[in-house]
């Protein structure tokens, strides 16, 4: 047991995602060592974030003030909305530089196992926006996993009847990837699988096909 204030700090740090007991201890001792001005700056940053950063009243992106930078920017195309699962996905789409419309952050993907259904997501807010902002194009940019695809399918079925153009981002292998990279093994299997599925339902090589 450490002195109570130190122990409290370790416990609090340990509640952060991805920080285990050991990391919590290391960070706490680091904070003990640094000058108090540095520690104060960190503490202030935390307080300011909690005070000033909230979610955009329109698209639920993080922002300072009522609306996020994209919703406030009059040069963006308000008739086109890109729907994403998470705030971090906004940054990812923005980094491509290809999209000039507005965003809508759902706050997750449909996953009964995690207790998340459409009601736990900002789906009704999206429908209201489509109506109120006369949106004509919706781009669904969910993660290419089972839950993301289910969410995209759910939204597409909901939105298409409203006479709005609905598209999904293409899933597949990015240009310039290294096929041998282990983290691409899964998408590679899926993409190749789609190519050969119909011709060859079991998956043995053609040269073995002698029946």
């Amino acid at each position: 047991m450490y002195a109570p204030p130190l122990q409290t700090l370790i416990d609090e740090l340990g509640r952060m995602p991805g920080i285990g007991p050991k990391s919590a201890q290391r960070i706490a001792f680091h904070l003990l060592k640094i000058p108090s001005t540095d520690a104060r700056r960190l503490a202030d940053a935390i307080v300011v974030v909690k005070d000033r950063v909230s979610s955009c009243a329109r698209c639920f992106n993080v922002c300072e003030g009522d609306l996020c930078e994209f919703c406030e920017d009059g040069r963006r195309d308000g008739s086109s909305v890109c729907v994403v699962e998470d705030v971090r996905d906004v940054v990812a789409v923005e980094r491509t530089g290809e999209f000039r419309g507005l965003y809508h952050v759902l706050g997750g993907a449909i996953s009964p196992i995690e207790g998340i259904g459409p009601d736990q997501l900002r789906v009704s807010e999206l429908l209201e926006r489509i109506e109120a902002e006369s949106i004509s194009e919706v781009i669904l940019a969910m993660n290419p996993n089972i839950e993301g695809e289910a969410t995209a399918m759910y939204l597409a079925r909901l939105i298409s009847p409203l006479g709005v153009s609905v598209t999904k981002i293409a899933s597949g292998l990015p240009v310039g990837l290294q096929i041998a990279a282990p983290r691409f093994a899964e998408p590679l299997i899926l993409v190749l699988a789609k190519l050969v599925q119909r011709a060859n339902p079991i998956g043995w090589p053609a040269w073995a096909d002698k029946y």
Partner: protein, 360 residues
């Protein structure tokens, strides 16, 4: 593909065990209860990424220890192959192939293939449909990584759908209906693919199965394997729609690849209920043999064949017939008693030799 040395550390009942497999047939002799099947389980883990008899990973770790290790070295396509597995009682397992960490344990099957025959195989014929689905799905998984991806997707979608059905508590609200529509669509896409691959594999197995059975049972009999889909050959999407009321009431998915049967018959009679014990045993062996043959033909590599205490259950004729049917390749046999005269092992070892100071 050939496996050379095997080392087990704190695995099951073994503190340490090392075994050098001969290029052809190796026999391990030991009394009942000395852990012959545990040795088989360790070797098979290297290929399956799981216990061949469905035991938990935790059960692999020796009592009083935190971690178990399995190490296998061999040759694959003229190159050295090394597979190392660290099984933890708590936390994740680590699997290294040629010192490279594998992202998914299931991909071990690409490095090493093993076929295991065990007395327990009788359940392939006598047991419930799950036994036969696992047999077929494992074979599909060895044939192509994409089959494993499809199986994983089916499992995941089923878990999501079943959870949603439980959460519904029998109510049919608009939200539950519309979310179910989506899961039905996902399940039917991956489920239809899984069913199609199972059906195709079963069709391919028909001929090798008949050949193997006729040799083992000495004669010509009409063995057959038929896929009986719980969706009754409807596309899964239509079948799911037809049972939706039922599914909501029961809180679980009542049709799909997880409810399908692989029916075995001898003549016109179901083997599960109408065949004799001897016929059932021959049929179980024939299933393993037929899949082993198919893997050899399609993978272009011969899986290590392990016969775990198989001969004690067979009469002399069947034992010899089985030996004559085994394709050329590396074989490991375990036994508590003597082997048929035609076994002709290259190396004979006792369990005591493998664990004690007697091991060289």
């Amino acid at each position: 593909m050939r496996l050379g040395s095997i080392e087990l550390t704190n695995f099951r009942n073994y503190e340490t065990l090392s075994l050098d497999l001969a290029p052809t047939t190796t026999v391990v002799i030991g009394d009942n209860g000395t852990g012959k099947t545990n040795l088989v389980e360790g070797i098979a883990w290297l290929a399956l990424g799981a216990s061949f008899r469905g035991a938990s990973d935790e059960a692999m770790v020796r009592v009083g220890q935190d971690k178990a290790f399995i190490r296998g070295e061999g040759v694959r396509q003229d190159r050295a192959l090394q597979v190392e597995v660290e099984l933890s009682r708590v936390g994740r397992n680590r699997v290294l192939v040629n010192r490279q960490r594998l992202q998914r344990v299931a991909d071990l099957g690409d490095a090493l293939q093993v076929t295991v025959f065990a007395p327990d195989d009788l359940k392939l014929v006598k047991g419930g449909p799950a036994n036969r689905r696992i047999l077929i799905d494992r074979a599909l998984g060895s044939l192509a990584a994409r089959n494993r991806a499809t199986q994983q997707e089916v499992d995941r979608v089923l878990r999501q759908r079943n959870t949603l059905l439980k959460q519904a508590h029998g109510r049919r609200t608009a939200e539950i209906e519309s979310t179910l529509d989506v899961w039905d669509q996902k399940l039917s896409t991956s489920g239809d693919a899984l069913i199609a691959s199972r059906v195709a594999l079963i069709k391919r197995l028909a001929e090798p199965l008949t050949l193997a059975y006729d040799t083992l049972a000495r004669g010509r009999s009409d063995v057959s394997m038929t896929y009986r889909a719980s969706s009754h050959d409807l596309p899964l999407l239509a079948a799911l729609a037809a049972v939706r009321d039922d599914d909501i009431r029961r809180g679980t998915t009542t049709v799909g690849p997880h409810r399908d049967e692989v029916a075995l018959a001898i003549g016109s009679m179901p083997a599960r209920t109408h065949a004799s014990q001897g016929e059932q045993r021959s049929l179980a062996l024939s299933l393993r043999l037929a899949i082993h043959r198919l893997l050899i033909e399609t993978l272009g590599a011969t899986p290590l064949l392990i016969l775990d205490d198989v001969f004690s259950e067979l009469d002399d004729h069947r034992a010899r017939a089985l030996l004559s049917e085994i394709p050329v390749g590396q074989v490991l046999m375990t036994t508590a008693s003597s082997l048929p005269a035609t076994a002709e092992p290259e190396r004979v070892l006792s369990v005591a030799e493998l664990v004690g100071e007697g091991a060289s």
